[in-house]
Symmetry: C2
Subunit: 175 residues, 2 copies
DNA sequence: ACGTTAGGTTCAGTGACCGAACCGACCGTG
DNA sequence: CACGGTCGGTTCGGTCACTGAACCTAACGT
């Protein structure tokens, strides 16, 4: 989406936000990053995104300070993309968007998000009803729901079947 | 964005939601509808969107049950587009997205959103800290902030300078 | 009769996205 | 050393969506 020249005339923080994350695939990349995906190839197979588009999105997100590119081994040189504070701050938006999609367009529950401390499901505003607090991202545990039918050919989908905290790096076993 | 064939393979309510509202301009149309814009021409001048795209978006949003097309006068026949429950349910998403954009990419406050009952500014999760409740959309009052520099040539921007409740129809005075 | 407004549709041009191929650096193996 | 495989890209032609301008219809007002 990000054209800049059009939305720039909009005096609105929503329009500004959409200039950054409104392009196709961008929010899905951020979602995967929240789920713990960090490596180029994992994004690629899990999203089914064209390689060129993924490279462009990772570059844009890095330039905007939403992801950080980080060398995690030297030989062979490999980088991973990790969410920054600014990227993590998109969690309320993604949670709200997901809740809307779930309530209005999905039959059945695909995933549950629970408060790690007590197991209570996260409420519509990101809160834990039991503890009465808003749950920080790193204290959210994601686990699959009954409606989820993962692609068995995709190691990332398989790795996401195991309950895990958000942001925690994904461990993909090899096929 | 909405291609359907691609995102359909994604087992994720976020991806489903983005199929519907992820295309360019779509969320801005919904935002304007929340602000009280209802007429084709008001969307057109306020968004600066190409006419063909606006027509396409209004049709899609109507087909998805997010807007409702309603005849409001017979001669000449004129229709307005009003948010349905499903469309109003996007408010938490837009609020979260706007808050993110404001905190990370905008210097200064463009608009304030307050609880109509007490005047307290709406918190980051859509709540009124004073009343301790989540504020329903129709009880939110929007007013301009110090950073807002509206386009004086646009009657819709001018009409939005007056504090008003969300969803309340916009009254555009003629130039 | 004429201009204006609201709400579109049509159309050529452009830019973004798509899928497939290609590429280079670095492994591990024989 | 040659060979194959993996990872992380870049390149390229085709397609599709968005853009901006022009055009159209119906119903005013004067």
């Amino acid at each position: 989406m990000a054209l800049g020249k059009d939305y720039a005339t909009q005096e609105c923080s929503i329009a500004r936000a959409l200039e950054i994350v409104g392009e196709r695939w961008t929010l899905l990349v951020v979602r995967d990053a929240l789920y713990g995906v960090r490596r180029y190839n994992d994004f690629l197979v899990h999203l089914g995104i064209p390689r060129a588009v993924l490279a462009a999105r990772l570059q844009t997100l890095t330039a905007e300070g939403i992801l950080e590119k980080r060398r995690y081994q030297e030989s062979p040189p490999r980088d991973e993309y990790v969410l920054t504070e600014r990227g993590i701050a998109l969690w309320p938006t993604l949670r709200a968007l997901g809740a809307w999609g779930r309530d209005h367009f999905v039959g059945g529950r695909l995933r549950y998000f629970r408060h790690a401390a007590c197991g209570t499901e996260i409420g519509p505003y990101g809160e834990c009803a039991l503890c009465g607090t808003v749950v920080p991202v790193s204290d959210v545990v994601m686990e699959p729901g009954p409606g989820l039918d993962p692609d068995p050919a995709d190691p990332v989908s398989r790795a996401l079947l195991k309950p895990k905290r958000l942001l925690e790096p994904l461990e993909t076993e090899q096929a």
